[in-house]
Symmetry: C2
Subunit: 154 residues, 2 copies
Amino acid sequence: MFRPVQPAPMPGQILARGVCRALVGLNFAPLTEQVPAPGLRCDVMALGPKGEIWIVECKSGRADFTSDRKWQGYLDWCDRFFWAVDADFPTDLLPAESGLILADGYGAEILRMAPETRLLPARRRALTQGFARAAALRLTALRDPGAVISGGWT
Amino acid sequence: MFRPVQPAPMPGQILARGVCRALVGLNFAPLTEQVPAPGLRCDVMALGPKGEIWIVECKSGRADFTSDRKWQGYLDWCDRFFWAVDADFPTDLLPAESGLILADGYGAEILRMAPETRLLPARRRALTQGFARAAALRLTALRDPGAVISGGWT
Protein backbone atom coordinates (compact mmCIF):
# COMPACT_ATOMS: atom_id res chain seq x y z
CA MET A 1 0.00 0.00 0.00
CA PHE A 2 1.24 3.47 -0.85
CA ARG A 3 1.84 5.58 2.25
CA PRO A 4 2.74 9.22 1.81
CA VAL A 5 5.47 10.51 4.08
CA GLN A 6 3.91 12.19 7.10
CA PRO A 7 5.45 15.51 8.14
CA ALA A 8 6.43 15.79 11.80
CA PRO A 9 3.52 17.10 13.88
CA MET A 10 3.52 20.79 14.86
CA PRO A 11 3.47 21.64 18.59
CA GLY A 12 -0.23 22.53 18.38
CA GLN A 13 -0.97 19.16 16.79
CA ILE A 14 0.81 17.37 19.60
CA LEU A 15 -1.42 19.16 22.11
CA ALA A 16 -4.43 18.30 19.96
CA ARG A 17 -3.62 14.61 20.30
CA GLY A 18 -3.66 14.84 24.09
CA VAL A 19 -6.86 16.88 23.94
CA CYS A 20 -8.52 14.25 21.75
CA ARG A 21 -7.55 11.51 24.18
CA ALA A 22 -9.07 13.43 27.08
CA LEU A 23 -12.23 14.17 25.10
CA VAL A 24 -12.70 10.49 24.32
CA GLY A 25 -12.42 9.86 28.06
CA LEU A 26 -15.24 12.38 28.61
CA ASN A 27 -17.37 10.52 26.04
CA PHE A 28 -16.92 13.22 23.41
CA ALA A 29 -16.08 12.24 19.82
CA PRO A 30 -13.28 14.52 18.59
CA LEU A 31 -12.48 15.63 15.05
CA THR A 32 -9.40 17.69 14.27
CA GLU A 33 -9.09 20.45 11.67
CA GLN A 34 -12.81 20.67 11.02
CA VAL A 35 -14.12 23.72 9.16
CA PRO A 36 -17.42 24.89 10.70
CA ALA A 37 -17.69 27.87 8.35
CA PRO A 38 -15.64 29.14 5.41
CA GLY A 39 -12.34 30.58 6.63
CA LEU A 40 -12.50 28.96 10.08
CA ARG A 41 -10.57 25.81 10.87
CA CYS A 42 -10.83 24.40 14.40
CA ASP A 43 -7.94 22.55 15.98
CA VAL A 44 -10.42 20.21 17.67
CA MET A 45 -14.19 20.04 17.43
CA ALA A 46 -15.98 17.46 19.54
CA LEU A 47 -19.49 16.05 19.69
CA GLY A 48 -20.87 15.02 23.07
CA PRO A 49 -23.34 12.28 23.98
CA LYS A 50 -26.25 14.74 24.00
CA GLY A 51 -25.17 16.49 20.81
CA GLU A 52 -23.12 19.16 22.58
CA ILE A 53 -20.53 20.80 20.33
CA TRP A 54 -17.25 21.94 21.84
CA ILE A 55 -14.35 23.69 20.12
CA VAL A 56 -10.82 23.51 21.51
CA GLU A 57 -8.04 25.72 20.15
CA CYS A 58 -4.54 24.48 20.96
CA LYS A 59 -1.87 27.11 21.56
CA SER A 60 1.76 26.11 21.78
CA GLY A 61 3.06 29.47 23.00
CA ARG A 62 2.58 33.20 23.34
CA ALA A 63 3.23 34.00 19.68
CA ASP A 64 0.78 31.34 18.54
CA PHE A 65 -1.93 32.96 20.67
CA THR A 66 -1.23 36.62 19.96
CA SER A 67 -1.13 36.01 16.20
CA ASP A 68 -4.61 34.43 16.26
CA ARG A 69 -7.06 37.13 15.27
CA LYS A 70 -9.89 34.75 14.49
CA TRP A 71 -10.62 33.02 17.75
CA GLN A 72 -13.69 35.05 18.65
CA GLY A 73 -15.21 33.83 15.42
CA TYR A 74 -15.25 30.30 16.87
CA LEU A 75 -17.61 31.24 19.70
CA ASP A 76 -20.57 31.35 17.31
CA TRP A 77 -20.00 27.75 16.21
CA CYS A 78 -20.04 25.82 19.48
CA ASP A 79 -21.78 25.44 22.82
CA ARG A 80 -18.51 25.76 24.73
CA PHE A 81 -15.09 27.09 23.73
CA PHE A 82 -11.77 26.09 25.33
CA TRP A 83 -8.11 26.94 25.01
CA ALA A 84 -5.65 24.07 25.37
CA VAL A 85 -2.11 24.94 26.39
CA ASP A 86 0.91 23.20 27.88
CA ALA A 87 2.29 23.73 31.36
CA ASP A 88 4.70 26.48 30.23
CA PHE A 89 2.07 28.68 28.64
CA PRO A 90 1.47 32.10 30.28
CA THR A 91 -2.22 31.53 30.97
CA ASP A 92 -2.71 35.15 32.13
CA LEU A 93 -2.78 36.00 28.43
CA LEU A 94 -5.96 34.04 27.88
CA PRO A 95 -9.42 35.58 28.23
CA ALA A 96 -10.84 34.57 31.63
CA GLU A 97 -14.27 33.85 30.14
CA SER A 98 -13.04 30.91 28.01
CA GLY A 99 -12.55 27.35 29.14
CA LEU A 100 -9.00 26.21 29.87
CA ILE A 101 -7.42 22.81 29.27
CA LEU A 102 -3.92 21.79 30.32
CA ALA A 103 -2.54 19.39 27.73
CA ASP A 104 0.50 17.53 26.52
CA GLY A 105 0.86 14.97 23.76
CA TYR A 106 -0.49 12.14 25.89
CA GLY A 107 -3.49 13.55 27.66
CA ALA A 108 -5.23 16.63 28.96
CA GLU A 109 -7.31 17.91 31.83
CA ILE A 110 -9.98 20.60 32.02
CA LEU A 111 -8.79 23.28 34.48
CA ARG A 112 -11.69 25.65 33.90
CA MET A 113 -15.02 24.68 32.36
CA ALA A 114 -16.13 26.97 29.55
CA PRO A 115 -19.42 28.82 29.93
CA GLU A 116 -22.23 27.46 27.81
CA THR A 117 -23.84 29.45 25.00
CA ARG A 118 -26.19 27.02 23.36
CA LEU A 119 -26.32 26.86 19.59
CA LEU A 120 -29.61 27.46 17.84
CA PRO A 121 -31.16 24.22 16.49
CA ALA A 122 -30.66 24.98 12.79
CA ARG A 123 -26.98 25.74 13.25
CA ARG A 124 -26.44 22.70 15.47
CA ARG A 125 -28.07 20.55 12.82
CA ALA A 126 -25.85 21.94 10.06
CA LEU A 127 -22.70 21.63 12.20
CA THR A 128 -23.49 18.05 13.21
CA GLN A 129 -24.18 17.08 9.63
CA GLY A 130 -20.95 18.67 8.39
CA PHE A 131 -19.03 16.99 11.20
CA ALA A 132 -20.58 13.61 10.36
CA ARG A 133 -19.81 13.86 6.65
CA ALA A 134 -16.26 15.06 7.17
CA ALA A 135 -15.48 12.33 9.71
CA ALA A 136 -16.99 9.56 7.56
CA LEU A 137 -15.25 10.75 4.38
CA ARG A 138 -11.89 10.96 6.12
CA LEU A 139 -12.39 7.53 7.64
CA THR A 140 -13.30 6.13 4.21
CA ALA A 141 -10.24 7.73 2.63
CA LEU A 142 -7.98 6.36 5.33
CA ARG A 143 -9.33 2.83 5.01
CA ASP A 144 -9.55 2.82 1.22
CA PRO A 145 -7.46 5.50 -0.49
CA GLY A 146 -8.96 4.31 -3.78
CA ALA A 147 -12.38 5.55 -2.65
CA VAL A 148 -11.30 9.14 -2.81
CA ILE A 149 -9.47 8.78 -6.08
CA SER A 150 -12.18 6.86 -7.89
CA GLY A 151 -14.94 8.88 -6.27
CA GLY A 152 -13.41 12.20 -7.15
CA TRP A 153 -13.98 13.55 -3.65
CA THR A 154 -12.13 16.78 -2.96
CA MET B 1 3.48 1.01 15.36
CA PHE B 2 1.53 -2.05 16.36
CA ARG B 3 -0.78 -3.27 13.61
CA PRO B 4 -3.14 -6.12 14.36
CA VAL B 5 -3.46 -8.75 11.65
CA GLN B 6 -6.47 -8.01 9.49
CA PRO B 7 -8.65 -10.99 8.62
CA ALA B 8 -9.43 -11.42 4.91
CA PRO B 9 -12.58 -9.50 3.97
CA MET B 10 -15.83 -11.42 3.59
CA PRO B 11 -17.61 -11.30 0.18
CA GLY B 12 -20.15 -8.82 1.57
CA GLN B 13 -17.35 -6.55 2.79
CA ILE B 14 -15.76 -6.57 -0.65
CA LEU B 15 -19.06 -5.40 -2.14
CA ALA B 16 -19.30 -2.78 0.62
CA ARG B 17 -16.00 -1.31 -0.48
CA GLY B 18 -17.24 -0.84 -4.03
CA VAL B 19 -20.51 0.59 -2.70
CA CYS B 20 -18.62 3.10 -0.54
CA ARG B 21 -16.58 4.22 -3.53
CA ALA B 22 -19.72 4.79 -5.58
CA LEU B 23 -21.39 6.66 -2.71
CA VAL B 24 -18.41 9.01 -2.39
CA GLY B 25 -18.78 9.69 -6.11
CA LEU B 26 -22.44 10.63 -5.46
CA ASN B 27 -21.32 13.03 -2.72
CA PHE B 28 -22.54 10.75 0.06
CA ALA B 29 -20.33 10.07 3.08
CA PRO B 30 -20.38 6.33 3.81
CA LEU B 31 -19.91 4.52 7.12
CA THR B 32 -19.77 0.74 7.31
CA GLU B 33 -21.14 -1.45 10.11
CA GLN B 34 -23.03 1.37 11.78
CA VAL B 35 -25.66 0.42 14.37
CA PRO B 36 -28.73 2.67 14.02
CA ALA B 37 -30.64 0.85 16.76
CA PRO B 38 -29.81 -1.98 19.16
CA GLY B 39 -29.63 -5.29 17.30
CA LEU B 40 -29.35 -3.72 13.84
CA ARG B 41 -26.02 -3.40 12.07
CA CYS B 42 -25.99 -1.86 8.59
CA ASP B 43 -23.45 -2.93 5.99
CA VAL B 44 -23.29 0.66 4.74
CA MET B 45 -25.03 3.78 5.99
CA ALA B 46 -24.43 7.02 4.11
CA LEU B 47 -25.14 10.67 4.73
CA GLY B 48 -25.93 12.88 1.75
CA PRO B 49 -25.24 16.57 1.17
CA LYS B 50 -28.73 17.56 2.34
CA GLY B 51 -28.71 15.21 5.31
CA GLU B 52 -30.32 12.30 3.45
CA ILE B 53 -29.69 8.94 5.11
CA TRP B 54 -29.36 5.86 2.94
CA ILE B 55 -28.81 2.26 4.02
CA VAL B 56 -27.26 -0.31 1.69
CA GLU B 57 -27.24 -4.02 2.52
CA CYS B 58 -24.67 -6.04 0.62
CA LYS B 59 -25.60 -9.59 -0.31
CA SER B 60 -22.99 -11.95 -1.67
CA GLY B 61 -25.39 -14.70 -2.70
CA ARG B 62 -28.76 -16.38 -2.34
CA ALA B 63 -28.08 -17.89 1.08
CA ASP B 64 -26.85 -14.58 2.44
CA PHE B 65 -30.14 -12.97 1.41
CA THR B 66 -32.56 -15.71 2.45
CA SER B 67 -30.97 -15.99 5.90
CA ASP B 68 -31.48 -12.27 6.56
CA ARG B 69 -34.64 -11.96 8.61
CA LYS B 70 -33.93 -8.43 9.75
CA TRP B 71 -33.81 -6.36 6.61
CA GLN B 72 -37.30 -4.90 6.92
CA GLY B 73 -36.17 -3.45 10.23
CA TYR B 74 -33.74 -1.22 8.36
CA LEU B 75 -36.50 0.58 6.46
CA ASP B 76 -37.43 2.57 9.57
CA TRP B 77 -33.90 3.99 9.91
CA CYS B 78 -33.27 5.57 6.53
CA ASP B 79 -34.79 7.71 3.80
CA ARG B 80 -33.92 5.16 1.12
CA PHE B 81 -32.96 1.48 1.31
CA PHE B 82 -30.90 -0.42 -1.28
CA TRP B 83 -29.62 -3.91 -1.88
CA ALA B 84 -26.14 -4.23 -3.33
CA VAL B 85 -25.31 -7.45 -5.15
CA ASP B 86 -22.77 -8.71 -7.67
CA ALA B 87 -23.45 -9.59 -11.28
CA ASP B 88 -24.14 -13.27 -10.46
CA PHE B 89 -26.84 -12.61 -7.88
CA PRO B 90 -30.36 -13.82 -8.77
CA THR B 91 -31.99 -10.38 -8.49
CA ASP B 92 -35.49 -11.85 -8.90
CA LEU B 93 -35.21 -12.84 -5.25
CA LEU B 94 -35.09 -9.23 -4.12
CA PRO B 95 -38.22 -7.24 -3.28
CA ALA B 96 -39.05 -5.01 -6.26
CA GLU B 97 -39.80 -2.03 -4.01
CA SER B 98 -36.20 -1.69 -2.75
CA GLY B 99 -33.36 0.10 -4.48
CA LEU B 100 -30.83 -2.04 -6.33
CA ILE B 101 -27.09 -1.51 -6.72
CA LEU B 102 -24.76 -3.61 -8.84
CA ALA B 103 -21.38 -3.78 -7.12
CA ASP B 104 -17.98 -5.37 -7.11
CA GLY B 105 -14.95 -4.63 -4.98
CA TYR B 106 -13.94 -1.62 -7.03
CA GLY B 107 -17.11 0.27 -7.68
CA ALA B 108 -20.87 0.15 -7.95
CA GLU B 109 -23.78 1.55 -9.90
CA ILE B 110 -27.38 2.25 -8.95
CA LEU B 111 -29.61 0.14 -11.20
CA ARG B 112 -32.89 1.07 -9.49
CA MET B 113 -33.34 4.10 -7.23
CA ALA B 114 -35.01 3.27 -3.93
CA PRO B 115 -38.30 4.96 -3.10
CA GLU B 116 -38.04 7.69 -0.51
CA THR B 117 -39.70 7.46 2.89
CA ARG B 118 -38.48 10.49 4.76
CA LEU B 119 -37.37 10.12 8.35
CA LEU B 120 -39.05 12.19 11.01
CA PRO B 121 -36.84 15.06 12.25
CA ALA B 122 -36.17 13.67 15.73
CA ARG B 123 -35.02 10.33 14.37
CA ARG B 124 -32.92 11.94 11.67
CA ARG B 125 -31.26 14.09 14.33
CA ALA B 126 -30.48 11.08 16.52
CA LEU B 127 -29.21 9.02 13.57
CA THR B 128 -27.00 11.83 12.29
CA GLN B 129 -25.57 12.41 15.75
CA GLY B 130 -24.85 8.71 16.26
CA PHE B 131 -23.29 8.50 12.79
CA ALA B 132 -21.10 11.55 13.51
CA ARG B 133 -19.89 10.23 16.85
CA ALA B 134 -19.18 6.73 15.56
CA ALA B 135 -17.27 8.02 12.52
CA ALA B 136 -15.20 10.49 14.57
CA LEU B 137 -14.38 7.93 17.27
CA ARG B 138 -13.31 5.34 14.72
CA LEU B 139 -11.21 7.91 12.91
CA THR B 140 -9.58 8.94 16.20
CA ALA B 141 -8.87 5.30 17.09
CA LEU B 142 -7.33 4.66 13.68
CA ARG B 143 -5.07 7.69 13.83
CA ASP B 144 -4.13 7.32 17.49
CA PRO B 145 -4.76 3.85 18.93
CA GLY B 146 -3.66 5.27 22.29
CA ALA B 147 -6.75 7.51 22.36
CA VAL B 148 -9.07 4.59 22.75
CA ILE B 149 -6.94 2.80 25.30
CA SER B 150 -6.26 5.82 27.49
CA GLY B 151 -9.74 7.20 27.01
CA GLY B 152 -11.42 3.96 27.93
CA TRP B 153 -13.80 4.19 24.98
CA THR B 154 -15.65 0.97 24.26
